[in-house]
């Protein structure tokens, strides 16, 4: 930004004080004007509703009557003892683990392999990314079909002689959640591969050359040069996964709606059910507040780590 500073200083030396100030204020005004549309939209349609959610979480409201009952922090106290809330939180964490596996482990592996001398790298990258551009409802429908008791997965297992493993995946209390998480992992790992590949390209080539001179083979180079160089990108991948894992709604709603027996209940679906379907808008807002705080926590971590990493 030195040029702008120099600019202003240049003009300052040349003109009278009031002229310089006037110019500066005009520039401020223009800046505000440029930001105005975004700001107006944002404040009205994002900020204000967010504040209202926080406010609403302190009341009890059925969504339709003209009056709201003040609860103070009672909703949050209730939340702490709510079995289903904790189950949903646990489910979000399990989801996170699966997604992290797909994004970090599989993503890194694929990116590492692709960064070698591979023919048709573009095709691989394209293919991995195709699931990423699908709508969540599409992912949900396709995988619901795959997991059908009479669907692709069970038939494949039977064909391989593993028929004993076949089951009603989305109706199984233990397997419904991991099954859906795999579907989400399928839909997301391509993004991670792309990000990691791009990150790899920005690693200083001289580091690789130094490693070669030192006699390192590929796995060693990977461990001591690539991964540290990718630290930033890996952090981003992890934090994107965290944000995604806690916001999950669409894919659950389109398949199991939180069932069977809350096995796939997520914070977002619980909030929707409690708040909107059971007319407990206050309580639902309390869940929303907790959700927002968790995600905000991750986002702040994201920024802090990245700022620190930039040094």
């Amino acid at each position: 930004m030195e040029t702008i500073e120099q600019n202003w200083r240049l003009k300052g030396r040349g003109g009278a004080l009031s002229e310089r100030t006037r110019q500066r204020w005009i520039r401020y005004l223009v800046a505000y004007l440029f930001i105005l549309p975004a700001l107006l939209l944002y404040v009205t349609f994002v900020l204000r509703p967010t504040i209202e959610v926080f406010v609403l979480s302190l009341y009890k409201w059925n969504g339709i009557s003209a009056t709201r009952e003040w609860q103070g922090l009672a909703n949050f106290q209730l939340l702490m003892t709510d079995k289903i809330f904790w189950q949903a939180l646990r489910n979000n964490l399990i989801w996170l683990v699966v997604i992290l596996f797909f994004n970090v482990v599989i993503g890194l592996m694929a990116a590492a392999l692709l960064s070698m001398d591979i023919k048709g790298r573009v095709i691989f990258r394209l293919g991995y990314f195709l699931p990423v551009v699908q709508a969540s409802i599409v992912t949900a429908m396709i995988w619901r079909w795959i997991y059908n008791p009479d669907g692709l997965l069970n038939n494949a297992l039977k064909a391989m002689g593993l028929g004993g493993l076949a089951r009603g995946w989305l109706g199984d209390f233990t397997w419904a959640l991991p099954a859906l998480a795999v579907a989400a992992g399928w839909a997301g790992f391509g993004m991670s591969v792309v990000l990691l590949l791009a990150g790899m390209q920005s690693i200083d080539q001289s580091l690789y050359d130094a490693a070669r001179v030192d006699g390192a083979n590929y796995p060693q180079t990977f461990r001591y040069v690539t991964i540290p160089g990718l630290r930033n990108v890996i952090t981003i991948v992890i934090l994107l996964a965290m944000q995604g894992a806690f916001q999950v709604f669409d894919i659950i709603w389109a398949t199991t709606e939180g069932g069977p027996i809350r096995a796939t209940e997520m914070l977002a679906t619980y909030m929707f059910k409690k708040g909107i379907m059971e007319n407990e808008y206050g309580y639902g807002s309390a869940v929303a507040v907790v959700l927002a705080i968790i995600i905000l926590g991750f986002a702040i971590t994201n920024i802090t780590l990245r700022e620190r990493g930039d040094e």
Partner: protein, 451 residues
């Protein structure tokens, strides 16, 4: 930046605050009222898949033909999203003129108390609906002596079975519990992986079983005792009923994976002949007739036999849906006229009956009607047993919504062995008491009077 005077920062803050305040003031309410065009527009919301064409939508269209000054827009919304969409809309004043949703003590209480349902008593008396709608339906759709909804149909639940399969295996229609069990066992032995179809993934089909079993074990008086009196859902007969459901599942009668079975999938398999029988209701007849035509004669019905020697067969009976008029509708009279046309005009009632879509409430002129075979069988069966009294067909449409979630998840848990029947009934009772304390249970009213 530190060299900038503090006043600039303050000024910036002020600007942001100004925007905030400006944004917090809602825009003036739109001036849009019904414009001066000749047509009166009536919006109807029904539960179901978009693009559904059923007898209701067809009758609405013929009303449009007969009344060219009225334009009817019928929208279908998926049933689990219906209330979540309806409530905010009613609140916002953007709701439909007519909406079809639940009846009974629990569900519409919030809507009625918030004043969004129009009091229909006037139309009830003027149009003569009071001579058609039976008392028990009025009781479930009114409170404080005011009628809030028109019940559109009487639905009943019972077993549907595949005649061919039964014949092939020499199976009788069971008339006793022992016969029922031996029939199901025989079907299992004959290689049917799912003898009794149950779409447990969708949860509500299990609650239909639960409702029927609870009514059978408690008798109509026992049920009313809890719904309107001091009875408790934790009484022995209710717990016994839940246990029977669990035992049926443990014996594998619902197949190996009922929780993975989606209702629509299961019904498709039933009509295809892959599943010998299922317990469901009269609402399936319309679609079956539309899809299979004459072939529906390959299927029959029977009542669940008495589960213990001292039990009676009580047919189940519940109102299908209640049709309400939005209290904020600008054209209530037209809306009421449409309701009258669809439900009370003799030709409409015949059309509804003949399609198998619904059984309209009230006396039915069966003579001149050409019913689908399944419907005829259902009526005949009800005729035989009606004198014993009837029990509700589904609790989940008449109980408050917090109880519904507990019911749905609890039943799945019972089937999965994660909850005992005693625990389930206790949870239901606890939720029932909570709802009563909060007043989300509408008190039943007496009859609605017309002077």
């Amino acid at each position: 930046m530190s060299s900038r005077p503090r006043i600039l920062r303050f000024f910036a803050l002020l600007i942001v605050l100004a925007f905030g305040i400006a944004a917090c003031t809602p825009a003036a309410a739109p001036a849009g009222e019904a414009d001066a065009s000749a047509k009166t527009k009536i919006v109807i919301w029904m539960g179901g898949e978009p693009g559904t064409v059923n007898t209701f939508s067809r009758l609405a269209e013929s009303y449009q033909d007969e009344h060219p000054e009225v334009e009817i827009e019928a929208t279908f919304i998926g049933s689990d999203l219906f209330n979540p969409t309806l409530l905010p809309a009613l609140n916002a004043g953007t709701g439909p003129d007519i909406f079809a949703t639940g009846t009974g003590p629990g569900q519409p209480a919030a809507i009625i108390e918030a004043g969004h349902a129009l009091n229909l008593t006037r139309y009830y008396c003027e149009y003569g609906w009071n001579e058609v709608i039976p008392d028990w339906v009025v009781t479930q759709t009114s409170s404080d002596g005011k009628l809030w909804a028109v019940g559109d149909s009487v639905e009943t639940t019972l077993f549907f079975y595949n005649r061919q399969i039964f014949a092939d295996n020499n199976l009788p229609i069971p008339t006793s519990w022992e016969e029922f069990i031996s029939t199901v066992e025989a079907l299992k032995a004959a290689g049917y992986e799912i003898p009794i179809g149950l779409g447990a993934a969708d949860k509500w089909p299990i609650s239909h079983w639960q409702t029927m079993l609870w009514g059978r074990f408690a008798s109509p008086e026992g049920v009313n005792d809890v719904m309107f009196g001091d009875g408790r859902w934790t009484e022995d007969h209710f717990v016994r009923a839940t246990t029977v459901l669990k035992e049926l599942n443990d014996a594998g009668y619902f197949g190996p994976n009922p929780l993975a079975v989606v209702y629509d999938d299961m019904m498709a398999q039933f009509w295809r002949g892959d599943i010998p029988m299922t317990f469901t209701g009269t609402w399936v007849i319309g679609d079956a007739v539309a899809a299979l035509g004459e072939e529906t004669q390959n299927f029959g019905i029977f009542q669940m036999p008495p589960l213990t020697p001292d039990q009676e067969i009580y047919p189940t009976q519940s109102i299908g849906t209640g049709w309400y008029i939005n209290a904020d509708s600008p054209n209530p009279d037209v809306a009421a006229d449409i309701l009258n046309y669809i439900f009370f005009r003799p030709e409409s009632r015949i059309a509804l009956l003949e399609s198998g879509d619904t059984v309209p409430v009230g006396p039915l002129d069966m003579e001149s009607v050409n019913l689908p075979s399944l419907s005829e069988e259902v009526f005949a069966s009800i005729d035989v047993f009606a004198a014993n009294g009837s029990i509700p067909a589904f609790f989940d449409t008449i109980q408050p919504s917090n109880m519904t979630s507990i019911t749905y998840d609890g039943l799945q848990a019972v089937l999965a062995g994660q909850m005992t029947p005693e625990q389930f009934n206790e949870e239901i009772q606890a939720a029932w008491e909570k709802a009563k304390a909060e007043g989300t249970i509408m008190k039943a009213s007496g009859a609605v009077a017309c002077d």
